[in-house]
Amino acid sequence: MPKITFIDAARETRTVEAKNGMSVMETAIKNNVPGIDADCGGACACATCHVQVHPDWIAKVGSPGSMEQSMLDFAEGVTEFSRLSCQIKVTDALDGLVVTTPESQH
């Protein structure tokens, strides 16, 4: 199973096991990782699961789709490494992925 590492705003690191096919957001919720609210449950409707993908991983993770990009355009603290974690699907290729969660999603 792929492993994903979440780094929170206090620089605390949690590495958890993910399942292929689930989203990075679902992986975080399932493992009680703080810093991701995911109010809409993954419907790409709320932009409260914003993460920063580690620069080493951004190429593999890929860029946001148009709906996601529009949501990100107006979220707080967005960078070129920003993604909505509900839109990143876990695959074996993402084993070892590192993402950072923000202080607040609102």
Partner: protein
């Protein structure tokens, strides 16, 4: 005898709101007991997918869970599922339940009522026939799913969000679908005419028979439903009926306890009821909306459930009041994502941005020049900016909004400068 635990918070109801309140209490440092008492047998789960992805069989039950089962043990949140609270004794600060085993009475220091709503039932003859369903709980969907086989004729009563989402899902499952609506347009309660016309057109183009201004008189059939009869006598044959004609607040337990209610439990900005130790959140609460002049509203949405849970937890612990969002909501039908923010009632002007024929557009609702709501279809920038401007009560220029060549970012900047 139930002991009185000075630091115990009891939450009645295990939906999105109750679950959020429990999680927020822990996040904010509550060290005492948290007990969720919920009638449904499932751990707290998300309801929105019930009429969308879950109905279509695209996701399994486990993915509905708001939190993994392990969360509750780790956070020391006691889940008492399949148990009903029968009374609240406010003087003794104690609830009684129908628990057959163990303690049927439970003391509280603070009580949160998050009992939600239940579907309104039609009084029409035959409403109890087999094949007539409602859609609120996972159990409802488990009963309904086997009936939605390809080729089956489904009649949806009510063209609100639940009705239209169900119709879209049933079309994807290969059912023949008729939607009956008493009003002369779909989504009449929740949106303006532009949006109604768009969605009516979409459903028709997907093969849904829309019967607007149609009054249902009776369900026909012997044992199992075989049709619905409209006023005037016409019978629409069907094998399955889903009734989605609104909900009723589950506020009886609060009323019986003497709490102030008015189609829902009346609360203040801190979600506090007329009893300082009792809070109400989610669909069952009637709360003042700070972005709308403290208008008292009962909102049925995930946003309202989550926000209420956070606010009540903060109030109980004396933590700072969380910032409120303008009300927001979404609906998925076919390949359309509707995102909406604010409240459109009271609008004196509407502005359409984009062309509905292109299936990406937004309707902005204005009142005295201020933006009070937005409905965006496949139009995330319009939604996100609209929501922000609604929450700020921003003055907007209709001409700018209607002009697609002016970016939403620029519209936001100009509106903020004007406000």
């Amino acid at each position: 005898m139930a002991e009185r635990a000075p630091d115990r918070v009891v939450i009645i109801g295990g939906g999105q709101a109750g679950c959020q309140a429990a999680a927020s209490l822990r996040q904010l440092g509550h060290a005492g007991e948290i007990v969720i008492i919920a009638e449904e047998p499932d751990a707290p789960y998300q309801r929105p997918p019930l009429s969308k992805a879950y109905l279509k069989g695209e996701i399994e039950a486990e993915r509905l869970l708001i939190r993994p089962e392990s969360f509750y043990a780790e956070e020391r949140i006691e889940l008492r599922l399949g148990e009903r609270v029968t009374a609240i004794d406010r003087a003794a600060r104690r609830v009684t339940t129908d628990a057959e085993q163990g303690e049927a009475g439970l003391g509280y220091n603070a009580l949160i009522i998050a009992t939600g709503t239940r579907p309104r039932r039609l009084a029409a003859p035959g409403a109890g026939l087999g094949g007539v369903f409602e859609l609120r709980t996972r159990a409802d969907v488990e009963r309904l799913k086997p009936a939605l086989k390809p080729g089956e004729r489904l009649c949806v009563v009510g063209a609100g969000y639940i009705g239209l989402e169900t119709a879209a899902a049933a079309r994807a499952l290969g059912c023949e679908v008729t939607v009956i609506e008493a009003m002369d347009r779909v989504l009449s309660r929740v949106a303006g005419e532009e949006l109604s016309a768009f969605f009516a057109n979409e459903h028709r183009s997907r093969g849904v028979q829309l019967r607007l201004g149609a009054r249902l008189e009776a369900f026909e059939g012997a044992g199992s439903v075989s049709g619905v009869r409209l006023a005037g006598g016409e019978v629409i044959g069907c094998d399955v009926v889903i009734v989605g004609v609104g909900v009723i607040a589950n506020d009886e337990i609060a009323r019986e306890a003497g709490l102030v209610c008015d189609d829902g439990i009346v609360v203040d900005r801190a979600q506090r009821t007329s009893d300082a130790a009792v809070f109400a959140i989610g669909d069952v609460a009637r709360r003042p909306l700070v972005h709308f002049g403290d208008r008292m509203m009962r909102l049925e949405s995930v946003h309202n459930a989550i926000e209420g849970g956070k606010i009540a937890a903060a109030a109980i612990l004396g933590a700072p009041h969380p910032a409120e969002d303008a009300p927001w909501f979404w609906s998925d039908q076919y390949d359309l994502k509707l995102q909406t923010a604010g409240l459109w009632t009271g609008a004196d002007a509407t502005v359409v941005r984009g062309d509905p024929a292109e299936r990406s557009f937004a309707v902005f609702y204005l009142q005295a020049g201020r933006l009070i709501a937005v409905d965006a279809v496949n139009a995330a920038p319009e939604y996100i900016v609209g929501k922000k401007l609604v929450s700020l009560g921003a003055m907007v220029a209709p001409g700018e909004l209607a002009d697609k060549s002016v970016a939403m970012k620029d519209i936001a900047a100009r509106a903020l400068a004007r406000t």
